[in-house]
Subunit: 195 residues, 2 copies
DNA sequence: TAAATGACAAAATAAAGATATTGTTATTTG
DNA sequence: CAAATAACAATATCTTTATTTTGTCATTTA
């Protein structure tokens, strides 16, 4: 088809994300995405093995740029109190999840969907986040701010102990009136375990 | 119908539970349950407002006798270390959930189902469990074993911080090889917050 | 000749009609 | 007359068929 080529993976992902957002995950076909790009749908199979693979790629890219990267920026700051840094990191994770659940429901649903079936991709995403926490905790331990221990194990525990506040299966609880004070109490509990 | 009457709510719940267990939640109709009891299906509507109400009642009774009551027994013990008692209580909760997820999958699915939609009934069940934790923590505080604080708030925090290990949405994670050490680390984190 | 196409089979989804279930109530029965 | 029934309407589920979508691949195009 006469068109501004070449067609890249990223162009397809951009198109897929837009169409997915407009029609929702249930109603978008790969033909819809191909139409949007003005190519034949067969072409997309040259770039992605299956519709599922395409959806996964959209979700993965979204997780990276919307969640992991902004958090990485926080985790990389190597000055000031690790306690405050850790708190900011977890608060930001929670805030972003809450925000996207409301503001970007179609993509959030796709993410929640792959999460409950725990795909490889989600496992890697979570692993990356836990590594970020570990790096903050490690710094806090070296500064004598946190008591010495296995940073990796503690990081995973911090992630798990706060799952009520960021795991998509609990999204319906996030509209509770007491959710913020609940987090506050959990946080105090966790924090005194670190000190 | 010529039968050993009268028909009680509990008889219906017994029958419903058996039929539900045999056919699974998707495949059992109220006609199936009525057949099992050798009564007309209309009769069941004399005792329960709807099929949903009947299913809820089955789930509620199961939660009470399989989860809340055994835990109540542990929470009521007023001797020995509150630390150990709290640990036993939480371990028992986790162990029972894991066990029923495998051994009683049909009922567990019904329970998981009403949980994600957080019905009133589940909210009450959770409230009851948190009260049990609070009573243990209160005793620990009075004995000087835990530092003084709002027992109710802390109890909720303990419940929430351990949800990865007992909330049905996380059931698929329970087969992880590291689940026990993960819990161990979370528990240490929480416990030092109590002391 | 690398990339896209279009024609095709297989699989999934949608639509329509038939069947079964849920829920109500007037009637029956012990 | 209290409790169960049986007949009924409204809803939901299943079944069958038609349509669409997914995925493959031989052919075309730049």
């Amino acid at each position: 088809m006469t068109n501004d080529l070449p067609l890249t993976k990223d162009m397809i992902l951009d198109a897929a994300e837009q169409v997915l957002r407009r029609y929702g995950p249930d109603k978008t076909s790969v033909i819809d995405i191909a139409k949007f790009l003005q190519v034949s749908h067969g072409t997309l199979y040259r770039h992605f093995a299956s519709k599922a693979a395409l959806r996964e790629a959209v979700t993965e890219r979204w997780l990276d740029k919307s969640i992991a990267e902004p958090l990485q920026e926080i985790a990389d700051r190597a000055e000031g109190s690790a306690t405050e840094q850790l708190r900011l990191w977890v608060e930001t994770l929670i805030e972003k999840k809450r925000m996207y659940a409301v503001d970007d429901p179609e993509i959030f649903v796709m993410y929640a969907d792959v999460t409950v079936r725990i795909g490889d991709m989600i496992a890697m995403h979570i692993h990356r986040l836990i590594k970020q926490i570990a790096s903050i905790i490690e710094r806090g331990m070296q500064a004598g701010e946190f008591k010495p221990d296995s940073a990796d194990a503690i990081a995973k525990a911090v992630f798990m102990a706060t799952e009520s506040f960021h795991h998509p299966a609990h999204a319906h609880e996030w509209s509770s009136e007491t959710i913020d004070e609940d987090f506050e109490t959990v946080w105090r509990l966790i924090l005194s375990g670190l000190k």
